[in-house]
Subunit: 256 residues, 4 copies
């Protein structure tokens, strides 16, 4: 019988086995559970939160562990129904499934300390895998296509940014290296300032103090506008193009 | 008689009952009065201003209270003329009218302190309601349409930004958590730095001090350019498209 | 005789009387002289520079005064040849000519102190007047047209930015006003922080210290990306449109 | 014989003599060697690194010197095969070849100190020369064409930015010059603040403290958004146009 329990579960658990577009109700719960787990993983690193909500979070983690363990078992059980998997074991040995298993194991080990929390963030990759459906998939394709279609121009922008960074930090090292050895005493040190300036972050923990240094820093900061404008302009052009092409294809009757 | 006083007042008071495009003279005064009230609400929180102009501002508030009370009464009176409202009481119970009434009441209570001032800022929503006419309406539609047409791409950008933020703060927490416990002692703490860096705000109150931390921060700052370039590029493409479509529709003879 | 000295000087001095496109040789010298004067005006406010190069700068100013006085006299002399001016006196009373005269007078009064230097910066407007020719004129039209064609959208962006600024500073005033009265003790004070954050400048002289304040600040900083992305996207779309329209008109054979 | 060793080496060494697109295997090694040399040049300015890896870096430099000397000799040897060079000596006297020779010489002089390291960064220009092939060349043309096609608009943006900078620093000098003489005591000093604000870098080492100064600074910071949005919008429009034109030319059958 085609609509047996196993098939129905498969349609709920495996996004590829679902006929309708979008996420199944079960996978929406999975997404929510992952987000809760990530929030817990982030929050339990903070002592103040841990002291107050530590027990509640531990209980929540136990619930989530049970849920993810059951979900993992279900996925194993229905894996053979998906023609892309060659049986249960083959599915279990896929990198994605192994990662899920590893995350599951770290949940059981509270003595892992923050390494566990850090590791658990890897489960966010699961969200990406789940997002590869429906309109998110199309939008992601548009974004990826736009970036990829201009990857050489973006690489040139990056090369230009890198050269400017190198040039600016070399000049500041020569000009201010003797006066502020802690901040500009070597090119790698001066790079910390150069990155902060060219990206317009501007922490201000390290700033030139001589007149010449400030003139050079001002020129660098003005170049920083180009460093932002160039990739933005390239991406904007690529998105205009990608959107128009997608619209043209749709109007020609291509289903997408 | 069609052009009775009540009908003429309705055309002045209710933007929907006005035949001509744009705001009526009366509603331009209302817009001005709201702006004055907001400025007073902002300024009276500052002790130095209050000491000097406190009495003038209190007098001004009394004048504005009288004006808004009269305006509210007029709107109630002419409400039945607008077919969208089913009588005076039905209009009075609309959320927008209730909000206006509540703002009116807070004006009378000087002992409310800053809560009153804060609450009064809600009257800015009135400006949005009044702006929903004429060319502002068309321009707002263009902006809203451009954003909405690419909401999935913008959500992906936001998801990417959030993941980068999470990744960067986790790494800095691991690298600098032990050295600067106040700033990087937990992932939520490190997030304060990560947001400031990825948005290129760069307060500089919290900066990494180790070599590895600075390398990671530099990479994060460079990623921040993408965080700005991606949504800007998406929006720019969407605006190009929306502007072209609007022009095509106009040239096809569609009145808009 | 058509090519009398006065006519030849008129073609050199008055950009509108010049047959060929671009600036005449004489006006290129004027541009250079204005730039030198501005640099001197900027530099003489700095004591260290004044002490060292004060005499050289005073001599230079005398030379420039003589030059601008002669240039002003020449312009008066050839003014009647331009049909747009109705005689010498009518030209002399134009606001632009009066401004040039005023700048000339301030050059003679060294006792004016910095007010003189500041006033002299007004001569930069002369550069704009001279730039209104040839390819700069076309490019300026493109820039102005692109901005003007989307002025309502830009006004909406500005309104949104202003509302966000008001909302953020009100919230921070409520949350941190009691803890940091100097920085967040009133809404106008909190606005200083809000502007620095929303524009992504991020001086860092004023930052929230409570957890709730930092969460609100993080949200504000993330909104700041939109504040930059929205007008940039609108302008990018407008420039795409303006460039395409200019190209289409050129290909249709319209001379521009 | 056409495929003699010298011809084969020429095809490997001289990008112009290579039939296939892209870099030859030999030149990929050259690119890598240049990058290694740049990294060493950067790193050896840092005392901590020098103390630890100084000997390894010196050995690496010797290896690289040998490699670049051999490469230089090979290029001289095969130069006559390229019809663009008129013999070996003519090639050796080209500025590019002279620069390569000079970099080679600095490698031999460890006593040059940081001047040597700085000078060696000039070898990065070699990368640009090597990059002028294949898809990088096409992408660079697109970037250069987009920037050049709108150079007047970008010059206007720069002029506007410069005027704003001058105006803002003059105003702040007038308003805060007396209170913070170190930071705003002259227009050139105030410019340091103005650049940091208009580019949204915002170091925060220098900030206005008076109410009027802060209002002016807030207006300046808001203008800074336009300073970024204007060139970005111009570039985005230019890239849209350049991409479309390139696509149209390709679809018309023009080989590029």
């Amino acid at each position: 019988m085609d609509h047996s329990l196993r098939h129905r579960i498969s349609a709920q658990v495996d996004p590829e086995m679902r006929g309708a577009p979008g996420l199944s109700r079960f996978n929406k719960v999975v997404v929510l559970a992952i987000l809760v787990l990530v929030v817990i993983g982030v929050m339990e690193t903070e002592v103040h939160v841990l002291r107050r909500f530590g027990e509640a979070m531990a209980a929540m983690k136990l619930v989530l562990f049970t849920f993810f363990a059951a979900e993992y078992a279900l996925r194993l059980w229905v894996a053979p129904l998906n023609p892309r998997n060659r049986g249960m074991l083959s599915y279990a040995l896929k990198p994605a499934a192994l990662l899920d298993l590893a995350v599951l194991i770290t949940l059981l080990m509270p003595f892992l300390g923050f390494e566990g929390a850090v590791f658990r963030l890897l489960q966010l990759t699961r969200l990406v895998r789940l997002a590869r459906i429906g309109r998110y998939s199309r939008a992601m394709n548009l974004v990826v296509e736009a970036i990829r279609s201009r990857d050489t121009e973006l690489a040139i922008s990056a090369g230009l940014a890198f050269s400017l960074m190198l040039g600016a930090s070399t000049l500041l090292y020569v000009v201010e290296g003797g006066i502020q050895p802690e901040a500009f005493g070597s090119i790698p040190r001066a790079m910390w300032w150069a990155v902060a300036t060219l990206t317009t972050v501007g922490y201000g923990d390290v700033v030139p103090v001589t007149a010449l240094g400030r003139v050079l820093a001002a020129v660098t900061a003005l170049c920083g506008i180009g460093i932002i404008a160039l990739p933005t302009g390239v991406l904007a052009g690529a998105f205009s193009e990608a959107i128009r092409r997608a619209r043209e294809e749709r109007s020609r009757g291509h289903p997408d």
